[in-house]
């Protein structure tokens, strides 16, 4: 097939996606970025061009830096934990375990349950004293702990919820991908005396790489995106100890209605994510065996 024809075919295939993406993502995003160069228009006061002033404001904003630090820490824990757990879960429910269907269901529940409701349930788990966690720890004579109300534990408590939510979600994709690994490879490895672990490390894992790339990119983005539980559980508190970038953006944009500053933050967040995603992509894509 000629190059021209290939290109035409490809464009036709991409057309619907491109139009929709442009209409609901790119155009609004660009408008948002442009907004970052202006002041926030309010009522009768129109927007005024201020160049990079908003970015300067950002550099001086302690909450931004706190959110940034929180988020890095949050990402550093949630990403590896959720991806590894997802893989472990997928392997478990791919095998012929007794009650496999129920177990799949169990792992998948976080995806099914609405976050607004489930965050409230987690709130109960973390409630000091009679919360589930304290009830269980109480059996061992441990004193009550204010999990969400203390600066030391709040971020970890929130991370646990994120891992819970994400691992089951990614598990699904690993599970589906496991099906694409031919059986005879497992057999060949078994003959060669490979333990399950060796087979996993030397064969399964490399062959799952396309999915891992997908999951990793999503996990990184998710670590900067998943804030529903923050909204319900801590609202960024105590004293911004659980403020994450997106939550902060949300607060600025939809509570403070400072759209210009929110756009500025969004631009920064996007730049961070784009760099992270690109690094992963460029680094991994070349090492992936696709077929």
């Amino acid at each position: 097939m000629s190059r021209l024809r290939t290109s035409i075919h490809a464009s036709l295939l991409l057309l619907p996606a491109v139009v929709l993406l442009a209409a609901f993502t790119h155009v609004p995003a660009v408008r948002t970025f442009i907004g970052a160069l202006y002041t926030t228009p309010r009522g009768k006061r129109p927007a005024v061009f201020v160049g990079l002033d908003n970015y300067r404001q950002l550099l001086d904003d302690p909450v931004f830096w706190q959110a940034m630090a929180n988020n890095v820490w949050y990402a550093a824990l949630t990403i590896p934990l959720s991806v590894v757990l997802a893989l472990v879960m997928a392997l478990a429910v791919d095998a012929r375990l007794p009650g496999r269907a129920a177990l799949r269901m169990a792992y998948f529940t976080p995806t099914v349950l609405p976050m607004i409701a489930v965050a409230n349930i987690w709130l109960f788990f973390y409630t000091p004293g009679y919360g589930l966690l304290d009830q269980v720890l109480g059996l061992f004579g441990l004193p009550e702990t204010n999990w969400l109300g203390s600066r030391d534990s709040a971020l970890y408590a929130v991370i646990a919820v994120a891992v819970w939510k994400e691992a089951g979600f990614f598990m699904i994709f690993y599970l589906a991908a496991l099906q694409t690994i031919p059986h005879d490879l497992r057999e060949a490895a078994a003959i060669e005396g490979a333990s399950r672990f060796t087979f996993f490390r030397r064969v399964t894992l490399p062959l799952l790489m396309p999915t891992t790339l997908f999951v990793l990119v999503n996990a990184v983005i998710g670590a900067f995106r998943l804030v529903d539980h923050i909204v319900v559980m801590t609202r960024g508190g105590p004293d911004n100890a659980t403020a994450l970038l997106l939550y902060y953006i949300y607060e600025i944009g939809f509570r403070f209605w400072d759209s210009a500053y929110a756009a500025t933050l969004t631009t920064v967040l996007l730049a961070i994510l784009a760099v992270l995603a690109a690094v992963q992509f460029l680094f991994l894509e070349r090492r992936i065996h696709y077929r």
Binding site: R42, P143, N146, L148, G149, R235, P238, R255, D258
Partner: protein, 402 residues
């Protein structure tokens, strides 16, 4: 026929949407020329988000129920019209028929921007069984800070290994800690913001003192849980006997009444220099983009909904404070209060109520305070330092409005 859309939040339990629908239906029966379209719009926060999104999209509702504290935000967005522009001279009196405490949050610059609708104050609830257990008179709540500390010390119970099984007092500090803190500052006789909403006094020594008192409840007196106390679980803590006394909105009255497994009392908040509580809750606002007919239609509904009979019915159904003295004079309300005297506590407190903290760029300014409060409560900062930082941040935010 004129059609008007009304956004309204649901902030308390129960079939609120049904009650509103019924209210609208009743209104329609009386005003066939007006069609009110009630649009449930989530929580307070969801509602303001939806309203401003629609506003920025050029499609704001004609009127809405929104937090009284969002008044400045709406003014700054040039979204709402003051009622003085709408009401006839005859109706001016109507604007003065509400409790003054509620109007503090509805007026600025001499104009009335909101009409009180679902309003509240903070009250204290106490567990009579717990009082009895430690030898306190179950019918007598603390009336001063010192009393409160003394009571709380007796009420705080520890098990053999020293772990606390019941705290004496709990003042929630998540979500909108500033609101509860405002009760403490009011009692210490200091007002946090000026009426114009352009200045705050976070670093006033009396404010710091109030904060230190709050912090000391847990750090020094050890009668209050440490760290941040969740607003949403506080009533449950109370039901569970984990706390003997709690401060929360009067909007919780119905909830406590149905769920507390022990006899309980409701009282005004204790006083220090003076008594008092901020008001809370939502007002009606009319939006600029409504046509003159729609504005009148909306006004007609608001008037109808705040008329004594309606206000009384609404108060009984939800636990909010009926917004006019006249409403308390209706037969229904009198009967209700007779049956359930606690329902009148919040109203009685209105005499000493102050405006809920509300300024221009309100959310940012209150966040500065919230952060400072939480920093102090979690021990990250000394109260004085926390309030100094909060003041600095608030000043920075408010500078453009001064």
């Amino acid at each position: 026929q004129t059609t008007v859309n009304m956004y309204y939040p649901v902030a308390v339990g129960g079939p609120i949407t049904k009650i509103i629908d019924k209210m609208v239906a009743d209104f329609s029966a009386a005003h066939p020329d007006i069609k009110v379209n009630p649009i449930y719009s989530g929580s307070y926060q969801d509602t303001i988000t939806k309203v401003i999104t629609a506003l920025k999209g050029g499609n704001a509702p004609e009127f809405a129920v929104i937090l009284s504290t969002d008044m400045f935000t709406l003014i700054d967005e040039d979204a709402i019209v003051p009622f003085e522009e709408l009401v006839s001279d005859a109706d001016k009196a109507w604007l003065d028929s509400f409790y003054e405490g509620f109007m503090l949050n509805s007026r600025t610059g001499g104009k009335t921007w909101g009409i009180p609708f679902q309003r509240s104050t903070i009250v204290q609830y106490w567990n009579k069984d717990a009082f009895r257990e430690v030898g306190l008179d179950p019918e007598v709540p603390p009336t001063t800070w010192d009393e409160m500390v003394a009571f709380a010390e007796r009420l705080t119970k520890r098990d053999a290994s020293g772990n606390v099984v019941r705290w004496g007092i709990q003042i929630p500090s998540s979500g909108f800690p500033y609101w509860l803190f405002q009760a403490l500052t009011t009692q210490n006789d200091v007002i946090l913001a000026n009426e114009a909403g352009t200045k705050v006094t976070y670093d006033d020594p009396r404010v710091v003192e109030a904060l230190r008192f709050w912090v000391d409840l847990s750090r020094k007196h050890k009668v209050h849980p440490e760290g941040i106390v969740e607003w949403g679980t506080t009533p449950k803590d109370f039901f569970e006997g984990k706390v003997a006394m709690m401060w929360t909105t009067t909007g919780n009255l119905t909830n406590v009444r149905t769920n507390a497994p022990f006899p309980f009392g409701v009282a005004k908040l204790p006083s220090k220099v003076r008594g008092g509580s901020p008001t809370g809750g939502g007002n009606f606002y009319i939006f600029k983009n409504a046509s003159p007919e729609q504005r009148n239609a909306a006004l007609a509904f608001i008037k109808w909904a705040t008329a004594p009979e309606q206000a009384a019915a609404w108060s009984i159904a939800t636990g909010y404070v009926a917004v006019t003295p006249a409403a308390w004079e209706t037969d229904a309300m009198k009967k209700y209060v007779a049956e359930f005297p606690a329902a009148a506590v919040a109203r009685d407190q209105l005499d000493v109520a102050v405006a809920e903290l509300s300024t221009h760029d309100n959310q940012r300014v209150t966040k500065a305070l919230n952060d400072g409060l939480q920093a102090a409560l979690t021990g990250a900062k000394d109260p004085a330092a926390a309030m100094k930082d909060a003041q600095a941040e608030a000043d920075r935010v408010l500078r453009p409005f001064q």
